[in-house]
Amino acid sequence: MQDGVVLSTVDEFLNWGRKNSLWPMTFGLACCAIEMMATGASKYDLERFGCGAFMATPRRSDLMIVAGTVTLKMATRVKVLYEQMAEPKYVISMGSCANKGGPYWQHGYHVLKGVDEVVPVDVYVPGCPPRPEALIEGVMTLQKKIANERLLRNKWVKHA
């Protein structure tokens, strides 16, 4: 109870709101984008997690799913898109290519070796491409992370 009842409750409430209304950006790069679309479609239905409202603009989205290979030409654009997103913002790196360059890591002179070189990544989803379930699991992992955020407590509570 060192954080205080009020702050904890308010934090929990804020986190609950944040984690259940993650709006991803419509941002497909390569093969994984197809699986991302499949996740949003009827069989897997990402909407069940409050995460299915794919927004066409970065300004009103909270989650960027980097689905596919990030090339050096694209990397600066990814960064610009990330910077345009309003706080709080989260990044899921989906698939091997976005994680670490994937199959193109060895001779890919034009491939960025992992999207974490340009934007901070919250959750890495493995797979090439990941199954839709794997992406959903990644979203759930992100929700767990958001649920443990100490938004107000970090601001107000002093730790010993």
Binding site: L29, E35, A38, L81
Partner: protein, 391 residues
């Protein structure tokens, strides 16, 4: 005579007399790389005069993954996973084309059952790819429901592919000399059931979208590629057929066992609009789905038990030489120019002729004079996959 590519200086181009009088300045609009309607990371610089496109410049390379460089560093079997990732919506057809190129140089005899099953998977993949084209095209034009139907049907094919190959999207299933796994009778039976289902479904999609008056108004007479343009730019596949040329490699240069099969080659006939416009291009795909079902039915009749793998050396080394192998893929003719220097485990050069690359180069030709919304419809109708454009 003004050559085809040259559409004039953007500044000097006159749209119509009205805009000439207004003397409006051209506005540069940047579509992409992140844009819902460009199907990936295509960036198109559009010079617009109010709502009318005066000039469109495609900028490619946002997904340039150096596949051709990788191919020069990998052994012949190891290239297949990379070939998959070219056109990730039609991975089976990509594999098949590459494998055919290697087999032609190697002189491998592929067993009959393997060839038939390749046709089966290739046609199933064509259906899946066209379903995707159908769903996303409807999505581009503002209809969301067809997307859900298309994906629901596509999942059935993906489930079959996953059972037989182990992956949903990028299979690595067609190997040099044959196939990785065999289809069981139970799976083939389900393919037959799927054929019945797909025929009904195609009728439903046509009622739902194709013959919808609003859809026809959006697409008919929009983005017309004349036949001469198509030939000049080297367009293939549904784009060429949509413009009225009855050219299909499966008929005109039958590879594999396609000469044994009875099917039609649908062409854009101008039922609505005129040949070469978005509606006819789109309709060619929908008709091809029915033809693919027809081919699959014939495969199921012809299939007999037998081996699925031919004789292939453990380490593949090709003799010195080169081949240029073309195949009819869902998006057009895919071709591989495979050069081998002999005595090497790697290809010396693997050039991919991607159909979408050609089709993207046609956009500057068709764009001038279109509304922006019509331009989106045109980009959607050529059904590009950026993995294949940029490679």
């Amino acid at each position: 005579m003004q050559s085809k590519w040259d559409i004039g200086e953007p500044e000097k181009r006159t749209i119509n007399s009205e805009t000439e009088q207004l003397k409006s300045e051209l506005l540069t609009l940047n579509m992409g790389p992140q844009h819902p309607a460009t199907h990936g990371v295509l960036r198109i610089e559009i010079w617009t005069d109010s709502e009318i496109v005066a000039h469109a410049i495609p900028h490619l390379g946002y997904l340039h993954r150096c596949m051709e460089k990788h191919a020069e560093n990998l052994d012949y079997r190891g290239v297949i996973p990379f070939v998959d990732r070219l056109d990730y919506l039609a991975a089976m057809n990509m594999e098949w084309t590459y494998v055919q190129a290697v087999e032609q140089m190697l002189g491998t005899e592929v067993p009959r059952r393997a060839e038939l099953l390749r046709i089966l998977t290739g046609e199933l993949q064509r259906i899946a790819s066209h379903l995707m084209a159908f769903g996303t095209y409807a999505l581009d034009l503002g209809a969301f429901t067809p997307f859900l139907y298309a994906f629901e049907t596509r999942e059935k094919i993906l489930r079959l592919f996953e059972e037989v190959s182990g992956a949903r999207l990028l299979y690595n299933y067609i190997w040099v000399g044959g196939l990785w796994n065999d289809w069981t009778d139970e799976q083939l039976e389900r393919v037959g059931q799927f054929c019945d289902f797909m025929e009904e479904e195609a009728k439903k999609y046509n009622e739902l979208v194709s013959y919808n008056k609003i859809f026809i108004e959006r697409t008919a007479n929009v983005g017309v590629f004349s036949l001469q343009d198509c030939l000049d730019y080297g367009a293939t596949g549904p784009v060429l057929r949509g413009s009225g040329m009855k050219w299909d490699l499966r008929k005109n240069k039958p590879y594999s066992l396609y000469s044994e099969f009875d099917f039609d080659v649908p062409v854009g006939d101008g039922e609505h609009g005129q040949a070469g416009d978005c509606w006819n291009r789109y309709m060619v795909r929908m008709k091809e789905v029915v033809q693919s079902v027809k081919i699959i039915r014939q495969v199921l009749e012809k299939l007999e038990p037998g081996p699925i793998m031919g004789k292939v050396p453990k380490i593949i080394k090709l003799p010195k030489g080169e081949v240029y192998v073309r195949q009819e893929c869902p998006r057009g003719e895919l071709a591989f120019h495979l050069v081998s220097e002999g005595d090497a485990k790697q290809p010396y050069r693997l050039k991919v002729k991607s159909p979408c690359f050609t089709h993207v180069s046609m956009l500057p030709r068709v764009a001038p004079g279109q509304m922006i919304a019509d331009f989106v419809a045109t980009v959607g109708s050529i059904d590009i996959v950026l993995g294949e454009v940029d490679r």
